[in-house]
Symmetry: C2
Subunit: 226 residues, 2 copies
């Protein structure tokens, strides 16, 4: 069904413009010069064609973005599932996921709304996560919600990596926010976004353990410890 297959005779000729080639060029461009550099004009330049030529193979720039996003998802490491208990594997997946999207922040709003059909690598990632959670005892009906919850936290945390280190410095209005200002001062230096992510990830995964235990049956211990 590709245009290569529709080219049955004659010499192999020159490399042809395809959606796949456009995606690869877009990934190259983003990796080399960042997301701001990904314009239709730059993409066409990279491929040695006129900008309008691209529209014979993709219908919109957003389609290119969706293809890039699926491509980027291959970088997310799901290998911990099957090797570690589900909760540790989930945390490892979340760490890798966040790291990848911290390098591709403009794709965060894209992945949040892009259907998995037509995004094979994204689908493959979810399959590995789902299989790992099922093997860990998660019931089918809660599984997707649990994945989405972790994903929401991960993507929000990926955005947070872009915050300047002094984002919470209250400046001139410190007097009107004494409690918060003191808490900001008491916060450890260094990788603040990373510390918040680890705190939240630990809490979220612990809470999910409790959800699973409660779903498993009434004999499970009370996770609140009260």
């Amino acid at each position: 069904m590709t245009s290569a297959q529709r080219r049955p005779r004659g010499r192999p000729s020159q490399p042809v413009l395809t959606a796949e080639r456009i995606t690869e060029a877009a990934v190259r461009l983003v990796e080399a010069r960042g997301h701001d550099a990904l314009t239709v004009a730059a993409l066409a330049r990279e491929l040695g064609v006129a900008p309008s030529a691209l529209y014979n193979h993709v219908s919109t720039k957003n389609e290119v973005l969706r293809r890039v996003q699926d491509h980027v998802n291959r970088e997310v490491d799901c290998s911990a599932f099957g090797r570690l208990p589900w909760d540790e594997a989930l945390a490892a997946w979340a760490r890798s996921y966040r790291e990848v999207y911290a390098r591709h922040v403009p794709l965060v709003p894209v992945i949040a709304v892009t259907p998995v059909r037509g995004a094979p690598h994204t689908l493959a990632m979810y399959e590995r996560v789902a299989a790992g959670l099922r093997a860990g005892g998660w019931p089918e009906h809660l599984l997707v919600d649990a994945v989405v919850a972790v994903e929401s936290f991960v993507l929000g945390s990926a955005l947070d990596t872009q915050a300047p280190p002094d984002i919470f410095e209250p400046g001139e209005h410190a007097g009107s926010a004494p409690t918060f200002a003191a808490a900001v001062r008491a916060r450890g230096g260094g990788d603040a976004a990373g510390a918040a992510f680890e705190l939240g990830l630990g809490a979220l995964v612990a809470g999910l353990r409790a959800v699973l235990a409660a779903a498993d049956g009434a004999g499970a211990p009370d996770p609140r410890g009260s």
Copy 2:
């Protein structure tokens, strides 16, 4: 220091263009016609001036966006702090926060990187949250990380509200993702994004209760229940 103060004599004259007025007009525009309608040209039109006139009062469109974001934060309901236990108040705050940013999705990447200095309403929100958590027993050094963790989850969940209902429908590649496809089918219909948010919020808050209990002292029960 405002331009009104620098206008000591003469009649009150006509309403003057100020950063505050520009912000109000921007909020009006967004509320009436959505974020896509917020262009410099439309904003100038709303105010009855030439687009270039705005640059006498704000240095960039992004500054307008930051001002709108701070304004929007007033809508987030923090009233549960002081009225309810910290964990319930935190959950109520998170629900309101998500709801507001679900209506202002384009502001999500803005709030994630905007310093609180010069954002008085945002700072006031954090102060109420911080005071509520302190009263609930949270130590200063963990407080901001806990808030950031919840915020990351909230903002990710706000993005997730924009996902189409069939975002996880695997389509033609369902065969390569049987576990995930089955879990998607087993998922309840209705407000899927809402269900994932509530599952994650419950888990995150439960996990934070455990973090606090562990920080409070060695006598606290083991949250894992093992």
